[in-house]
Amino acid sequence: MTDHDPLLDELASAHLDGATSPEEAARVAADPALRARVEELRAVRTAMQSALPSVDPARREAAVAAALATFTDENDRPGTPVPPVTSLAAVAARRRSSPTALRLVGVAAALLLVALLLPRLAGSGDRDDETASERPSAVEDAAGQPAAGDADAGGAEAGDAAQESAAFDESPTTTTGLAAQVDLGSFDELAALVDRAEQRAAGGDFDAADQATVASRADVACGAPAPPGSSTSTAAATLDGEPVQVIVTTDAAGSRTLQIYAAESCTLLLERPL
């Protein structure tokens, strides 16, 4: 084959795709060399379309089954926060894919669940009582507990600053989702969020600014209860468009741990010491 003019090749290729203007089409029609080139490119296209190996039916079944397992898993998942290890293990048991893909399963599943539940939790950061009382929590729904606004009992543990989040004041023992809290911002990458959280925690303003709204562990929807003698600070953020909860726990010895959860599913996305 001889070398071809790239511009004429582009014309011939576009003509093959039916993407030429009338003038270009006329030029191709009038040029035998261009027409021949169109046929050469057509033969290439046909070779690529026709030389595909067929799919092994067993492998097709396996691939579809794996995807359906994910579909079922995500549609059947209850609103109750699932322990992250259990969740990932369940996914892992269904799939035999690369470790990277497996890690993404947990993250993607959490984000999808957040997307599904987000409308129900709209207003969780609102501050008026009406919104708070109408806010159904996935956790509460699953546990059969009363909505936060229905609870008469409870203390004022959250303090004055926590008046921003009246529902939590009224029912401090009920896990209700995200309190009004520091918003670290929106991030496309988990690493960027971690950097920001570490900066805020290191600078102290993460804790100071947030402490008033997290006077009790009840305001922290995700994660295990903090052990005696430890304190917890939390902040909100958005990761790839989905809400996450950032938690810093300081134990009695002063060691601090950063945890980031998908907010609604409470799937642990990251845990590391600070």
Partner: protein
């Protein structure tokens, strides 16, 4: 076999959590998605894994599909990105002890021998030729010739201008033509093809 005209109803049911509808959608489009991944990957082993990743990505994204494009177009777009992501990850994890160009090329475990024998020379030649194309040329050609995407759809999928799509497809095809030596290719009219008529104008 049901036609793709049924896709909207199946999509709607799948978005409501109907597993049977999701199953039907996946089966209906599996082979084409596998073909895309096969062409992008260049070998069956990677294509199988990439296909699975693609199907899972479709399952996860079905709730966000808004019906503005055909489901097949959207699915191929999702599949393409899933495949490319998977292949890029693998590129960063070369298989020890194998030459680079064979590092991701396993046996053709997905091929059906009875079908493959007749087409084996062409298939290997096409595999080799595609493997020599860089991703920037391979992906547009695959999306055009296998997925029947128009230039605008390819542009959106790959995040490049439509004019760039046109030129990359042309350059990709030209490279393939040189690598495959079209003089030895059987004329299109005499070959069994999955789709000779692309059916629409890009």
């Amino acid at each position: 076999m049901a036609s793709e005209a049924d896709d909207p109803a199946l999509v709607s049911a799948a978005q409501d959590g109907d597993g049977a509808a999701m199953d039907a959608l996946l089966r209906r489009h599996h082979d084409r998605i596998h073909a895309v991944c096969r062409r992008l990957a260049g070998n069956d082993a990677d294509a199988l894994d990439a296909t699975q990743e693609a199907l899972i990505a479709i399952v996860r994204g079905i709730g966000r599909f808004d019906g503005r494009a055909a489901f097949s177009t959207w699915a191929y777009r999702v599949a393409t990105n899933a495949c490319l992501d998977e292949l890029r990850r693998r590129k960063r994890r070369p298989v020890p002890g194998l030459p680079e160009d064979l590092g991701t090329r396993g046996p053709d475990v997905g091929a059906t021998p009875a079908v493959g024998i007749e087409l084996l020379p062409d298939r290997l030649a096409v595999d080799d030729a595609l493997a020599q194309l860089t991703e920037e040329f391979r992906a547009p050609v695959v999306l055009r010739d296998l997925c029947d995407m128009d230039y605008a759809e390819i542009a959106e999928t790959l995040g490049i201008p439509a004019g760039t799509v046109r030129s990359r497809i042309a350059r990709g095809r030209a490279q393939l033509a040189r690598l495959l030596d079209p003089g030895n290719l059987t004329p299109a009219a005499e070959r069994p093809t999955e789709r000779n008529d692309l059916g629409r104008t890009p």
